[in-house]
Amino acid sequence: MIEQIFLQSIFSRPWVTERLAHLVPEASLGFAVEVTMSVLKATLIILIIQIGMLWGTWLERKFIGRIQDRLGPNRVGVFGLGQPIADMVKILTKEDTTPTAAHRWVYNLGSLLIVPPAILGFAVVALDQGLIATDLSVGFLFFIAIASTSVVPIFMAGWGSRNKYALLGAMRAVAQIVSYEIPQVLSVVGVLLLAGTLSMQGLAYAQGPLGLDGGSPAFPGVWFIFIQPIAFVIFVLATTAEIERTPFDVPEAESEIIAGYHTEYSGIKFGMFYLALYFATISSAAVASVLFLGGWQPPIPTELVNWLANRAGEDAGELRASLGSLGWLWMSLKTLFMVLIFMWFRGTLPRLRADQLMAFSWKVLVPISLINLLAAGLVGKLVYTRTPIVVFGAFAITNVILLAALFWLIGWWSQRRSAQQIRFDQPAPVAPMSAESA
């Protein structure tokens, strides 16, 4: 199995220690092993996501092509699979210009610094049991913190270009990213308080059916999408806005402000923005699947596994181990699913207007996530340490009530709104023309 190969080769301390033992003096061996392992892990992650990013662009073009009844790329290689390579060659050999008016340092640093925040999120993504680059106790907070630093290079790009469209785009992008960060972090609090941890492995373990070291699963033992569906929807929407994908790509709205903050960039410097977008898409999809879709947990109900384990008796540990053996595959499938959802948005939805966009965050998503958080806090206290089925049932009732209230509110609000507005579906009130005036 793939994870066995990883765990027994470059992810294992003894393997690295053995090879470094006769190269490095005894005193600094521990340090050297730590650094080497970090470098190996980092390089491996970057290689994997680089491949994921390149063929992610292919997948997106093909997928949206199919949605829009086109073929998508199909010239370079079988099914156009060579397209990413051709694009890469094109972007590398294209001249990049720095406008004379631009502030050279800020302009160039902007395109340099946009990439690391997008990559660093992968440091805390749990790929499998024990297969995580570093399982920080504040894993999710780290992801959010790192992802939100991308506003700085974006503003640097917009300001450094000294182009009015770029500056406008950067201003909008910063306002948008900052505004959508609030619903993004607020919606997840409900999940975090039930799991009682910020660590990404801890969050995956909390969703069952598998517990630590083949033990019984932790509380609540249900995928969070089933007990916090409202939070899931808010998180996905806010994340789409955070990484500026359609329908929230107002900062790049080509019909209004050319290409937003990267108007002046071309060649490889533009390529960096493109790269960062896809890295951010994949890492957000991976984090969303760890938070809400159980991460590497197999798609089997916890109760069923518990029942099977009880029947298995002494072989329960073996059963759990065999269920957990394909974790990396489940994680990849879930991440792919989330990536396809982001692409589906792009293929289907038209772009929001700038003022609608800000209003949607502050007037819709923030209040809903606050109410959802309160409900999760209350119901969580009632069902704490109960079995997964009880937790699911209690939250199902809560969510139905919340959704009913929400839809009633939306209906009431849109009715009030349409009463105030001009009705476009009816003929406009025209003053009757008399024969004299004509």
């Binding site: 730590e34 970090s38 470098v39 390089t43 970057i46 590398l92 050999t93 001249e95 990049d96 210009t97 406008p99 004379t100 008016a101 340099l112 990439v115 690391p116 990559i119 660093l120 680059a133 570093t134 399982d135 106790s137 780290f142 300001w159 182009n163 201003m171 505004s179 960060e181 609030i182 607020l186 609090v189 975090l192 308080l193 009682g196 941890t197 910020l198 660590s199 492995q201 801890g202 373990y205 630590l212 932790a218 509380f219 050319i258 002046e264 490889i268 390529g271 960096m272 790269l275 966009l357 800000m358 209003a359 502050w362 007037k363 209040p367 606050l370 958080l373 806090g377 209350l378 206290k381």
Partner: protein
Amino acid sequence: MPVARQGRCVIIARGLGRVTGADRAPHEEYYVTDNWAFIAIFTIIAMTIPLLGFLMSWALRPKRPGDIKLSTYECGLETVGETWVQFKVQYYIFALIFVLFDVETVFLYPWAVAYNQLPLFALVEMFVFLSILAVGLAYAWRKGALEWV
């Protein structure tokens, strides 16, 4: 000391374990293996990706600058006036509301992590805290601070 050599913040992890005591789920104490050294190395390697790209592109790309090519792009028109002007205050009001709510989440996250161990009173307290913020949001809404103009 082998623990220190591994560069892990085990001390912090143990500290957390002691504070929260036996109520803590087993996986938490076990899996707190903070490795910030890795983050530092990862940051450096992440920086080399764009640098490598720039280097490759610098070797491969043509370099033929020109006055027109390097002028500011405004759909073919010449740019008029200064770009770095003072910006409207609306952005800063959004930024202020953002700071307010971001600080709120800074308080919310530790509360959420400790939620299972906290008494019911802490829940009520957090509700009071959240409702104060909700009133703040309602005030900002009412005052028109959330209007994008």
